[in-house]
């Protein structure tokens, strides 16, 4: 599999798996307006996965694949999303903090991809579109981090707990392999140290301003890019894929 296809599928997998998680909030949000906003963002993520998978199908040397193939007919080890995307939602602090940490990663990664200079290719255009919605997601999740961080003793405590749990998973953002390095070399992906610097700068500032200290734990997640997942991934896929597995090619 060539690096461009692999990289595109990984982005698609991140979007689909997190979108699936976020959509679990539908009907369970803390209040009506937030429920709609979260479901709306979830749809943005799922829509993003569709765009990326459709593009991937167009460059996949195996013909006849489509977005449904990538979403519904691949097994756990074939999904190369980052593990942070598949973690269960937890409480709203955990959900919001994950969105914040991941939205910022998305803005940086897709911005670089949108500047990828490859004439007549639709990928930079897709990325530019995604940067717009990601920027809104980031603005939204940043405000929520501030509200919950500065809210009550309880909300601050829950944010602290969420940060402890999530921090090690963010290390995976910077766990580059040869596919990422190949994308860096053609100018379609931020250099690792640049990504780490830009991401840390904003994230640490926002967290510091709401008195959330970075965890001291040095534990780091890894393996998502190689198809190694947490115990939560299997159940997520089972739920997401059950209809297509039971009734292949079923459509509405």
């Amino acid at each position: 599999m060539n690096h461009l296809l692999k990289y595109t599928l990984r982005l698609g997998d991140n979007a689909l798996i997190l979108g699936q998680r976020m959509s679990e909030w539908c009907g369970h949000g803390p209040f009506l307006e937030e429920d709609i906003a979260m479901a709306n963002s979830a749809l943005d993520y799922v829509g993003r996965a569709r765009l990326l998978y459709t593009y991937a199908a167009s460059i996949d040397s195996v013909k006849g694949r489509d977005e449904d193939f990538y979403a519904f007919r691949r097994d756990e080890a074939e999904f190369e999303n980052l593990q942070i995307c598949e973690l269960p939602n937890g409480d709203y602090a955990f959900t919001i903090l994950r969105q914040f940490l991941f939205d910022h990663y998305c803005v940086l990664v897709y911005r670089a991809l949108s500047r990828f200079d490859k004439p007549s290719d639709q990928l930079p255009g897709l990325a530019a579109k995604i940067v717009k919605e990601s920027s809104f997601h980031l603005a939204r999740s940043t405000k929520w981090v501030q509200r919950l961080g500065l809210g009550t003793i309880e909300s601050n405590l829950r944010m602290k707990r969420a940060l402890e749990e999530l921090w090690g998973y963010t290390r995976e953002f910077f766990d580059y392999d040869e596919t990422d390095r190949s994308m860096v070399s053609i100018g379609a992906c931020p250099e690792k140290e640049k990504l780490r610097f830009d991401w840390s700068n904003l994230v640490e500032k926002v967290l510091f301003d709401v008195s959330l200290k970075l965890p001291e734990s040095k534990w780091e997640a890894n393996g998502g890019r190689q198809g190694v997942h947490t115990e939560h991934m299997g159940k997520l896929l089972a739920e997401m894929q059950v209809l297509q597995r039971r009734y292949p090619s079923l459509s509405w």
């Binding site: 803390p30 209040f31 009506l32 307006e33 937030e34 709609i36 906003a37 709306n40 963002s41 709203y92 809104f136 603005a139 939204r140 405000k143 509200r147």
Partner: protein, 94 residues
């Protein structure tokens, strides 16, 4: 979270350039920024608008129904205030 802790906001949307903002509904939010974000998700996700206004509901002063007689009834018999008594030239008619 309890909705009681959040203010009620009225949302106005402008659907196209040159058209005025219209009231589309209300929502709960902590402050203006939050109201704006929620309005975007609740009221514009199907491309309904290109501009949003949000106003705290309690900042809106409404006429009271018991004042209706005093406020509106006097206009009932002032038909001369309608421009229907003038003959409009054919050339001006659309």
């Amino acid at each position: 979270m309890n909705n009681d802790e959040l203010d009620l906001w009225e949302v106005f949307l402008r659907s196209a350039r040159g058209i005025e903002h219209k009231h589309v509904g209300s929502l709960h939010a902590a402050n203006a920024e939050h109201a704006m974000e929620s309005a975007r998700d609740v009221y514009t996700r199907r491309q309904e608008g290109i501009s949003i206004w949000v106003v705290r509901s309690k900042e809106i002063h409404a006429s009271q129904s018991e004042d209706s007689e005093m406020l509106f009834d006097p206009a009932e018999d002032k038909i001369y205030r309608h421009p229907t008594f003038y003959d409009v030239s054919e050339k001006l008619k659309l």
